[in-house]
Symmetry: C2
Subunit: 145 residues, 2 copies
């Protein structure tokens, strides 16, 4: 069993954030002793899931819904499975989007390396839009589809 301070250290989360999560209902059935929160294995796992769902783009409201489901046992396995499948698809989509972002950033890195080497953008302008170095052209075309 851990205190809020210990959990705060374990997850590198401010105490205020953990209390906020509690207030939002993310630890249903959290135990207390003389008013003081006592975090057990269930809450530690809950926090891991919270961080995961948050990272997947889910809001607090929907995380609370999930936590409520976990208190309802086998009856909500289906909903919980669906939730994770949906989040998985969302993250996969997000990673594809970030891949495009990365292409743009790589192009811009090349752009400014070249501009910096030349002292101006003239040579680049002359190469646009379809006479860039092959590797860069590929990035450029993916970005400006």
């Amino acid at each position: 069993m851990y205190t809020i301070g210990q959990v705060s250290e374990m997850f590198r989360l401010p105490i205020s954030t953990i209390r906020y999560y509690d207030r939002q209902g993310l630890f249903p059935g959290l135990e207390r002793k003389a008013g003081i929160r006592r975090f057990g294995a269930r809450e530690i796992e809950a926090l891991r899931v919270i961080e995961c769902l948050k990272a997947s783009g889910l809001g607090i409201r929907d995380i609370r819904q999930f936590m409520a489901w976990t208190t309802e046992g086998a009856a909500t396995y289906e909903q919980r499975k669906q939730l994770f499948e949906t989040r998985k698809r969302a993250v996969e989509a997000e990673m594809e989007a970030l891949q495009m972002t990365l292409d743009m950033l790589r192009y811009k890195c090349w752009y400014y390396e070249t501009a910096l080497a030349d002292g101006n953008e003239n040579r680049i302008s002359a190469m646009l839009p379809d006479r860039l170095p092959p590797e860069i052209q590929e990035l450029y075309d993916r970005i400006h589809e």
Copy 2:
């Protein structure tokens, strides 16, 4: 030259958002005719960069700084290059983090598929923490390091 409505359609951004960006100084030197904004190639490219920098996790404030740099010519190539390199590293880190998130989500998908098939979590509990199917064990270990 495009009107704000056309740009809104092109980028699938609400008009209010584009006006907000303008107010925040993201289109330095934006042309106007009788008060009406006229978006040219420069602004279209600016919006592409804005979306990219936003997706990389940069705030409006820093995007404004970048846009200011673009008006200062060759003197700021170095800063601009550095900015894109920093954003590139940030996105790469973000993708690694998302990869971990994905591992967790895959584990949870398996978990609830199994629980759903069994009607309870008993079999899974018996496999924890180190007797999971190899493929799942790998995910589990990466998550619970």
